[in-house]
């Protein structure tokens, strides 16, 4: 009977745990709570939760350490919770293998949306092909044909260059999730590419002009300032 997804909340602030627990339980998730890093690692091992929501500022250890430890043996989705001004932390967490992040303070709808995206990716990992039976990604008027390697807006070919197509298809593979600049650059230009944001920005600007109706109000690819890019979820 109990086939609900279990979520481990790792957070030391009692009141924050309390409100997260309330909304997650109300939305049919099973909630486990760990108050510090040590307890968290123990519970990940013993309970194997379907998802971890991890506050980076823990009393006993750096949250990044937990990500590293968990990623050694598990691909469980990890959503990182961090304060606004710590862009560096978020980027590091994502590069270490965290799946997503929310910035404190966050609303309940934001948290639930992130959780849903994460859960969908657990399913998607095994059933990606079924989700896109004809090998086409669709979101609004945008479609990506993975076989023909073309991107269409409103049925019209957007005429992306090779690199631009690579970027868009990579983002769509992880739709709903943030991909860091570093991740994108390494995956598009290779592991040994010099870290250079500029070239990525220029390509993104061109993509935006080709697929977005209003580049100042994008509908498909969003910028997470200082962190990376996120593509809208598929329909």
């Amino acid at each position: 009977m109990n086939n609900r997804y279990s979520i481990l909340i790792v957070e030391d602030e009692k009141s924050i745990v309390s409100f997260m627990k309330t909304i997650l339980t109300a939305n049919d998730y099973d909630v486990l709570v760990a108050r510090d890093g040590e307890q968290a690692l123990m519970m990940v091992n013993s309970h194997c939760p379907d998802m971890i929501i991890l506050d980076l500022g823990l009393p006993d250890m750096d949250g990044l350490k937990i990500i590293k430890a968990v990623r050694e043996w598990s691909q469980v989705p990890i959503i990182v919770v961090s304060a606004r001004s710590r862009e560096q932390d978020k980027v590091m967490a994502l590069d270490l293998g965290a799946d997503d992040y929310v910035t404190k303070p966050f609303g309940t709808s934001e948290l639930l949306a992130r959780v849903r995206t994460g859960i969908r990716h657990i399913i998607g990992r095994s059933a990606n092909a079924e989700a896109m039976p004809d090998g086409v990604f669709r979101a609004g008027d945008l479609s990506i044909d993975y076989k023909k390697r073309h991107v269409y807006v409103d049925g019209e070919d957007a005429h992306l260059t090779k690199v631009e197509y690579k970027i868009v298809s990579l983002l769509s593979e992880y739709a709903g999730r943030v991909l860091t600049y570093d991740f994108l650059i390494k995956n598009i230009w290779g592991q040994n590419a010099n870290y250079n944001n500029q070239i990525l920005r220029v390509n993104m600007a061109n993509i935006r002009r080709k697929i977005e109706r209003d580049p100042a109000d994008p509908k498909y690819i969003f910028t997470e300032m200082g962190v990376g890019y996120r593509m809208v979820d598929a329909d």
Partner: protein, 359 residues
């Protein structure tokens, strides 16, 4: 990286102080040698050395350099300029007095200058402290109002659980939510100010950022929070890259947009625009409301003007601190910020950031 930077900063003054000391001493020696070619008497030598020891003491930090210079000076004078030349001779009559004079002069000068510098520092510190406590006072005042209303709303909900209808309850909670959001904004602003203030050179994480991404992100967040009045956005068609700390500049834009929503009386349109002017990016947030009262304009970025204009009422929504945060951030980016009223009515807040070198 930070540590090596600190070490560099610590070692730089030592090197430059030593170099300065050596320069002054060799200048004194050089001048004495030149003078001796013209005039064979030695009377001016100790005087010249005392002068240069004085200069060393004045233009180095701490007094050890001065003391060292005076000792070196005494030895130099003895070795080079007193008979027997190129030999040390400590038995000359009056010699102890020369040494004593030079030592006293250098020590006294060093102590005076050090004291001066210290006093200057104390004065600057005191001024900073004053600004800080002013800000603190303004802020505490500003925090109290929304906190009171949050506490009030929540207590009302808890204590009147049975009496309140669901609509009333929701209204109260919405108010509390608005105020809490406002508080968060305020606290973030304060954190920014302390971060920039704590650090004279404001070590910002500056990276070239695409202006259109920044604008899109700020506009999206704003639209999510405020449906009305509608926000229209205009960006240049070319890609504009500006070196900046994106989080902070985004904060400037959201502050200005929120200001327009909360303060522009009668506005039904807010505009956010960016354009390029020569080697600058010009950002503007404008509205078509009543504009800024003339008497506020000169003080608008001071941060504390509200106290002087209590009659403005609206005590919770103090835009002063938000604006002074904006100005501080822009200044830390070597940019400029201004506010004025449009001719057709409405306020304009403009800030200008320099573009990167490649432009």
């Amino acid at each position: 990286m930070k540590r090596s930077l600190l070490r560099q900063q610590a070692s730089r003054p030592i090197v430059s102080n030593v170099i300065r000391t050596l320069l002054f001493l060799s200048a004194a020696t050089g001048i004495c040698i030149l003078l001796r070619m013209i005039d064979n008497r030695d009377t001016y030598v100790p005087m010249l050395f005392i002068l240069f020891v004085f200069l060393v003491a004045r233009y180095t930090d701490g007094f050890w350099y001065g003391v060292g210079a005076s000792l070196a000076g005494v030895l130099l004078v003895n070795y080079l300029f007193t008979y027997p030349y190129f030999n040390f001779n400590f038995t000359l009559a009056g010699y102890p007095i020369t040494i004593l004079c030079m030592l006293v002069v250098s020590t006294a000068t060093s102590m005076l200058t050090t004291q001066n510098k210290r006093q200057e520092q104390i004065r600057i510190e005191a001024e900073k402290e004053k600004t800080r406590s002013n800000l603190l006072r303004a802020v505490s005042h500003d925090l109290r109002t929304p906190l009171t209303s949050i506490l009030g709303a929540i207590s009302a909900v808890i204590e009147n659980d049975k009496i309140l209808g669901s609509e009333e309850r929701l209204n109260l909670l919405h108010d509390a939510q608005d105020d809490a959001r406002w508080l968060i904004k305020m606290v973030e602003n304060l954190l920014t100010i302390t971060r920039i203030d704590a650090d004279e050179n404001a070590r910002l994480y500056k990276e070239p950022e695409a202006v259109e991404e920044l604008i899109a992100s700020a506009a999206a967040k704003h639209r999510k929070r405020f449906g009305e009045p509608p926000l229209s956005v205009s960006i240049p068609s070319e890609l504009l890259m500006v070196p900046m700390d994106a989080v902070l500049i985004e904060q400037v834009i959201t502050n200005l947009l929120e200001n327009a929503v909360l303060h522009a009386k009668g506005a039904n349109r807010i505009m956010l625009s960016v354009r390029r002017e020569d080697s600058n990016a010009v950002f503007e947030v404008s509205d078509n409301g009543a504009g800024i009262p003339e008497k506020l304009l000169p003080h608008i970025f001071d941060g504390y003007f509200r106290q002087n204009y209590e009659e403005e009422g609206d005590s919770k929504r103090n835009m002063g601190i938000g604006l002074s945060v904006c100005e501080t951030i822009v200044r830390a980016h070597n940019g400029t910020m201004s506010a004025f009223n449009k001719e057709g009515g409405g306020a304009v807040f403009r800030f200008v950031l320099p573009l990167g070198e490649e432009y």
